[in-house]
Symmetry: C2
Subunit: 346 residues, 2 copies
Amino acid sequence: MSQDAAGKEIAMKPTIRDVANMAGVSISTVSRVMNAPQTVVESKRLRVLEAIEKLKYQPNGFARGLIYKKSNTIGVMIPDIESMYYAGLIRGMQDAAVQLNCSLMFCNTDRDKDRLLSYIENFYEKQVDGIIFASDALHPAYYEKMTRFHFPFVLASTHSLDYDIPSVDIDDESAAYAAVDYLAREGHRQIGMISFPFGAMISGQPRYDGFVRALRDHGLEACAAHVEFAEHRYEHAYQASRRLLEKAPNLTAVFAASDEFAMGAITAIQDGGRSVPDDVSVIGFDNIRMADMYIPKLSTVAQPVYEIGIRAIQKLHELITDGSVKQLREKLPHKLIIRDSSKPLR
Amino acid sequence: MSQDAAGKEIAMKPTIRDVANMAGVSISTVSRVMNAPQTVVESKRLRVLEAIEKLKYQPNGFARGLIYKKSNTIGVMIPDIESMYYAGLIRGMQDAAVQLNCSLMFCNTDRDKDRLLSYIENFYEKQVDGIIFASDALHPAYYEKMTRFHFPFVLASTHSLDYDIPSVDIDDESAAYAAVDYLAREGHRQIGMISFPFGAMISGQPRYDGFVRALRDHGLEACAAHVEFAEHRYEHAYQASRRLLEKAPNLTAVFAASDEFAMGAITAIQDGGRSVPDDVSVIGFDNIRMADMYIPKLSTVAQPVYEIGIRAIQKLHELITDGSVKQLREKLPHKLIIRDSSKPLR
């Protein structure tokens, strides 16, 4: 780039010509990187992307769709497609996408960092208009890669305090509080919890915090030690529940961080010779479809997963179309649903 | 096309030049339609596709990947992502895809014909190397569109008798037979069934046929009338089970066409004041993850869904790489698993 061009850069926004000059390619190559990246050899493509990054070239703020060719396709990153939690979320996204006349493509990341990063690249080559990133914590490497590719993206059922990224989820702390407060009001004094590990799941810490705050408000601080941690699956929750029942045999209630965990807890309690809810009450979290099909039907804190899915797609569409969103971190209301797995202790 | 070119056509395979001539475009446009279709305006693209079709131009048999630019991406059509059945299938596909170093993109069709057709187009523009079509009957319109776009495709957990399309599934008739034969051997004489509707689901008729054949082999023909039909969901199965119990109150066993149906049947039986398995035995089908988490744990005919997923991806890879597959319709073994929802009647 000439001294002159560098001087101009300070005064005005970089143009596609500046990008082409810096990358040493033609303007049409820059255009192809934006509109049909898979037709450009990787070395050139990377030079163009680097130039775009260095010059902070943004065709029109975040409104990539206005300049880039729109594909009317949205990419969705799902951490674990076998978890029943995502089914409801996906259904909401699907219905919103149909309304907006766009297609969804899902990728199952299996919570594998490398796979997630390679899917971002894949979505770039497939020219999706934007990405929904579901549930897990937003790792700096993911953030960096998505912004590098100038992807508009929205967090669904998770959020970030480190970055200003639009998100849709619930207030996990007060949702957990509602469940434990209910149990204490209904007379339970020995309450335990099967928790997510902190860190990996953005909802791990706040659900635990809500549990502890409710205990404190009812003068049950001692119960804060009645916690066991489980990874994401039923099997882990079953084992964690066995450990919990061993260390706190007097429990009359268990708050589980997910419905799948609640199922693991119920099975562990019954395998230990006690019944749910007659001996031990169990309250889950999420209100997945299965909560109502299970025997006993699960008491649970309902997340509006379907609505989260809908709002996430609408928000992404707003971001793609307007270049910004009105409400950055959107919280939808939770709801305590009491069914057959819990009862008052009187 | 000149008389001469038409004459040559009989003698030798059509070339890319013949396609370009017929479509009235340049050779490079034909090439772009194959390698970056979204860069070609729709009217030209359709003319090229029509010419390819009329001339039966096939770059190299079915081995599209050898001439077309490979994207190392496979598209997967899922009929209902909320159904737990697909979770296991998807996991198998995912693990096989990682082995082959390719990415999967899922679309949820919701069993909507128009949406499915538009997803095929979408996959075409995204240049996936091939498609896995899961579970439902292969409608002629789907077949036509996939062959028109020269997509290598494989049927997973379904098959076609009308077309010679590679498929991986189980033998539904003998799997259903195994469940009902077991119930009869264990002393049950009043056996009912909650069946899929015939037609939509390729497994509807054969599972019913297996039920009827087992009854006949045990001299229980009269039970063949003890059938109610349900759509794909728990709620429908619950209602169908209420109807079944009303018309055949003496049933001691119910064979359900899926595990989700078995859960609906168990809930209906218990809501009617009888217990499972003490009063009525229930056997499901599929062995979804939840079968083992349910209370009572479900007796079921296990489909090797994970292996079906693995084999479907491997088969598609074989088709893309070699242009053909060794075994057209592959059947994997089922397995009867007896857990807590059924017991002998003695």
